[in-house]
């Protein structure tokens, strides 16, 4: 039920975000994770530890929650509050938490892929047994930084697991309309990196595959690339319609039949690990957490104006 709670929290959290965005409380771009919950829960919550690193792109609320970032601080960040993850400086696309080893939240497509290589480099440099999970979208596999980052990781054997969250569309452009190779995992072949395709609607499958790759990387520094097939149930960002011209309503409805949360609930029931009552209890628990997020945020102050000039340059206090 731990994993189930994590998935449900991400779902209900995003629904609250959608509501607050609709009310004009959240500004800017806001990319929701609905439909992709099995990826962040299976890969982060389940397969790695607190010492391991996670870095992702702008659809970052789900991965942040699964990494243990306080959801109250995430919501506060979305509303530009001083208690937010980055004191209101980053917003939805730039969630960071040093204590949780959550390295962002990056909004230039593909720009964070070499950063992950550097985290892997530091792990190897210090001979640590850690791994860095780097999440990216299908669209990011077409930009130069992806290829330069993967080449370095493959060349120097760095403990990085690249996870392509293939949700079929880079904004409104289908994978096969943007990439000469539509089986994206094959791109790893060019960099001598082991790769695999994973069913991203099945949290157990995601857990198993990521765990195996992460454990191997911690022992041998061997990198991997996993193409996790998933689907987003909402538009690219809150500014976009759920389907629009690029995909049909029928396609979205059909995909919703394989909702990762419902599928996992079925599995838990079939295995006799949970009852309907348990799911009802879970809804109540999560509802309470989301309510706490809202309450925390509403009671939080705006950043003081002096904050504008802080954190531009790093200065050690007395060191």
């Amino acid at each position: 039920m731990n994993w189930y709670d994590d998935m449900l929290l991400v779902r209900r959290f995003e629904e609250k975000c959608a509501q607050l965005y609709g009310m004009g409380r959240i500004m800017g771009f806001c990319h929701l994770y609905n439909g992709q919950e099995a990826v962040s829960t299976g890969a982060i919550k389940a397969a790695i530890t607190a010492d391991d690193y996670v870095i992702t792109a702008y659809r970052d609320h789900g991965p942040a929650i699964s990494k243990g970032v306080d959801p109250r601080k995430i919501l506060a960040e979305l509303l530009g509050k001083y208690t937010g993850t980055t004191k209101g400086k980053g917003g939805s696309m730039h969630i960071f938490d040093r204590e949780k080893n959550f390295l962002g939240g990056h909004a230039i497509v593909g720009g964070h892929i070499p950063i992950a290589a550097g985290v892997g480099f530091a792990i190897k440099y210090r001979r640590e047994k850690k791994v860095c999970l780097c999440f990216l979208g299908d669209g990011a596999t077409n930009i130069g930084a992806f290829h330069e980052g993967l080449n370095l990781v493959g060349l120097w054997k760095l403990p990085v697991i690249y996870i392509i969250e293939n949700n079929k569309y880079g904004m409104g452009t289908a994978v096969e309309r943007a990439s000469a190779v539509d089986e994206l995992h094959k791109k790893a072949l060019a960099y001598n990196i082991r790769s695999e395709v994973v069913d991203g609607m099945d949290v157990l499958e995601v857990y198993k595959k990521v765990k195996a790759a992460a454990d191997r990387a911690k022992e041998t520094y061997e990198p991997a690339l996993l193409e996790i097939e998933t689907y987003r149930f909402r538009g690219h960002s809150m500014s976009d319609p759920v389907h629009g011209h690029y995909r049909s309503k029928e396609e979205v409805e059909k995909r919703k039949q394989s909702d990762p949360i419902l599928l996992f609930a079925d599995t838990l029931k079939e295995e006799g690990m949970a009852t309907d009552q348990d799911f009802e209890d879970a809804e109540k628990r999560i509802k309470k957490i989301v309510e706490e997020c809202v309450e925390f945020t509403e009671n939080s102050p705006e950043p003081p104006i002096e904050e504008l000039w802080k954190d531009v340059y790093f200065e050690r206090n007395g060191a």
Partner: protein
């Protein structure tokens, strides 16, 4: 005092800081086996081994970004660009990731990294290989920009840059690597943001830095002092950002005339910024409008005559100095 070349001064700074702090490492194209495209890293691979002196593929975005990631989790990379021209393909990494990380992460992650290599024109390298990019990088909040004009300054400033907790753009000059100069014996550092009066004078202040100061301004000063019977004060800010405005303003209050000489293009150049600051803080002291000498506002051509005509020269400095003295 010892006499060393600029490449030796830089090499010493890297070597000493690597000995001082095991988190420091150097990577870039040809820095290891080849011993450096300009031999700056000569001997370092043999001394420090392949985990700390790393040859990279030709992938500036990749290895600049790798450096940012390593810095975020506690290492202190020195990233060499074979020339700063190639940094343009890593611009996203320097600007969006290195410079903004501390602010955008609300203080969660700082990025102690030095990006270094030669900038500016050499001879006959054409438009893509001859760029003075300091004003572009100085424009970005979060970056510090350092440009030494002497061996002594290069070593002291680079050591400070490596110890700094922020991303540093450290721009050298490839034509100066073989030039020799005195450096103090033993350990020394030079703070960032502190300029130096390289020569005192009373009639005109010239502000300039890096190769243009070393190669063009000093020649002009020698010629013009005699020719015009004047005394010129020369200020080297050494750090473009933060800029030591106080030093310049104080000098202008004494000489009442200012000429700024830089290798970069005129529009939104570093000199424009200095000129504004001086106008704002010392307007009543100025006896003439501030003059600037820059490269012509064109991509630098290959042909020798055109290249020379485009860059700052003694003739252009003479014209500017005469203008602020109303002797043109």
């Amino acid at each position: 005092m010892a006499i060393v070349s600029l490449r030796e001064a830089i090499n010493q700074a890297i070597d000493e800081e690597m000995a001082r702090d095991e988190r420091v490492f150097l990577m870039g194209e040809e820095v290891a086996s080849y011993q450096g495209a300009y031999k700056v890293s000569q001997g370092l691979l043999q001394k420090w081994g392949p985990m700390r002196i790393l040859d990279t593929p030709i992938a500036e975005a990749g290895f600049a970004g790798l450096g940012v990631g390593a810095a975020m989790v506690g290492l202190r990379p020195i990233v060499e660009f074979m020339t700063w021209n190639f940094s343009l393909v890593a611009y996203d990494q320097i600007v969006n990731n290195a410079a903004k990380m501390l602010s955008m992460s609300g203080g969660n992650f700082h990025v102690p990294i030095v990006f270094r290599g030669p900038g500016g024109a050499a001879h006959g390298l054409g438009a893509t290989h001859s760029q003075a990019l300091e004003s572009i990088y100085a424009h970005i909040p979060g970056l510090k920009v350092v440009m030494p004009s002497t061996c002594k300054d290069a070593k002291g400033l680079l050591k400070t840059s490596i110890r700094d907790d922020n991303p540093i753009v450290f721009i050298e000059s490839e034509v100066m690597y073989g030039d020799k100069g005195e450096i103090p014996d033993g350990e020394y550092t030079i703070p960032l943001g502190v300029g130096e009066v390289k020569k005192t004078g009373s009639d005109v202040t010239i502000v300039s830095w890096s190769k243009i100061l070393a190669y063009v301004v000093w020649k002009a000063v020698d010629a013009l002092q005699e020719e015009l019977n004047i005394s010129i004060e020369v200020i080297d800010p050494r750090t473009i950002k933060p800029m030591d405005y106080d030093l310049i303003v104080e000098s202008v209050k004494k000489t009442n005339r200012l000429v700024i000489v830089e290798e970069g293009w005129p529009f939104a150049g570093v000199g424009a910024q200095i000129s504004h600051e001086v106008s704002s803080r010392a307007f009543d002291y100025l006896d003439a409008p501030v003059e600037r000498v820059t490269q012509e506002d064109v991509p630098l051509p290959y042909a020798h005559e055109l290249e020379v005509r485009s860059l700052p020269s003694v003739d252009k400095i003479r014209a500017a100095v005469k203008k602020v003295l109303y002797r043109d």
